[in-house]
Symmetry: C2
Amino acid sequence: MTDTETGSLVIIGGAEDKHGECRILRRLVEMAGGDRARMLILTAAAEEPGVVGATYRRVFGELGVAETFIIHVSDRAQANDPGLLSLLRHATGVFFTGGDQLRLTALLGGTTIDRALRQLHRRGAVIAGTSAGASAMSDTMIVGGHDDETATRNTVRLAPGMGWLTGVVVDQHFAQRGRIGRLLTALAQNPRVLAVGIDEDTAVEVGPAGELEVIGSGTVMVLDGSSCEHTNASEASSDQSLALTGVTLHVLPAGYRFIIDERLALPRKEAE
Amino acid sequence: MTDTETGSLVIIGGAEDKHGECRILRRLVEMAGGDRARMLILTAAAEEPGVVGATYRRVFGELGVAETFIIHVSDRAQANDPGLLSLLRHATGVFFTGGDQLRLTALLGGTTIDRALRQLHRRGAVIAGTSAGASAMSDTMIVGGHDDETATRNTVRLAPGMGWLTGVVVDQHFAQRGRIGRLLTALAQNPRVLAVGIDEDTAVEVGPAGELEVIGSGTVMVLDGSSCEHTNASEASSDQSLALTGVTLHVLPAGYRFIIDERLALPRKEAE
């Protein structure tokens, strides 16, 4: 995991509330310093960065953020522009929008911005991402696959992610798009990873010590392969149905926690 | 479970192959006696019993069944008609078609036909059901719910099933319709039950000793709540997100087995 100097992460399953209570984004702003928060919005993943950027600027403004910057890059040369560093330097929170997670990593991975963001995080800034921005948080990320389908190796495509969170594979829009098959397929290929499926309008907050806490209206499914007894992932052909036995499954709503290192699910601290 | 005199069950997740290899229906015919099989097709669940009955009559014919009878009942008086018993008496296999599982139990439950079918089963006839006919196999059956949705108690509606298989809740069209949420909701309300989600063109064959074996092209998900540590099912309101921790999950393709009493998943006997 990360050391205790670094900031937290907020990993959002997409379609978070932007008009009502805004429970997730409100919590993000609070973590980033509340009315002293300086939020950096990164729209590199988005198809329509202008629209997406403006939407989050509005919401963060309504939630009382002191300052909002938007950075959009559409090629790696821009992401290597040292002129952007002055914008980055004072951010207390970073927000990766949705879109295409592969664009995020292909455009930003290993660039000047990427390195600067990691420095920011080590100095305590909170790093958040929704939808594509959530997928890209893991070191191996899901880039595509089939929803609502029997799991085979073809069900999921993986690529190297941004690696803000190690040893974990994240999937988003989880219940809404019927994605347990593709998440199990990722898990079967190496049961060491923790598989985390996040519903829409739901997020996990990850503290520096690797404690997940659920926020929002849906649930987070945690699939722990450390108890796995058997899988056919290595011998099955890529279109053959998956076998996987003995996985431990947790369904966690808001307030529930999961300690990554101990593989331990914990109920809400007090009754609501 | 059942005692060792009784016949087997074949529980099919819907949309089983009826034109190609017909792996599931072929196996059913073999279990019912092959070219000496006498198959009884029960269309009570179906919206269009004529079409459905004719389809299965054709397939069973092509698979070499000696004789096929179709019984359709549309009210309980018909299901209590002792005249039907002569049709039933010599069947070696019984097939419940798809449709609406609630029609199946509301029309047949506790009638003369129902009692006669149980006698047949005790004398060794194989009992099969697909889709609605699969759901109705369990003692508590899923009659409806929401697909691809965060699990809450509203996600699933339950009713008393036909009870061919006790201690188990079955769901069908499982991966294809994103139904893990509704199956987990059923499980959370009593983790004692074994939750079994069957994909399309996939089935479990249940032997008299309570051993499940998977047939067909997809997978069967078995969710074992005996390891469950915590659920909020009793205190959560009906639209509040479900919590459920420590469930054991197995994904089983063709040839894999599960021993119900021992809660034990077993790989295929030999490599294919």
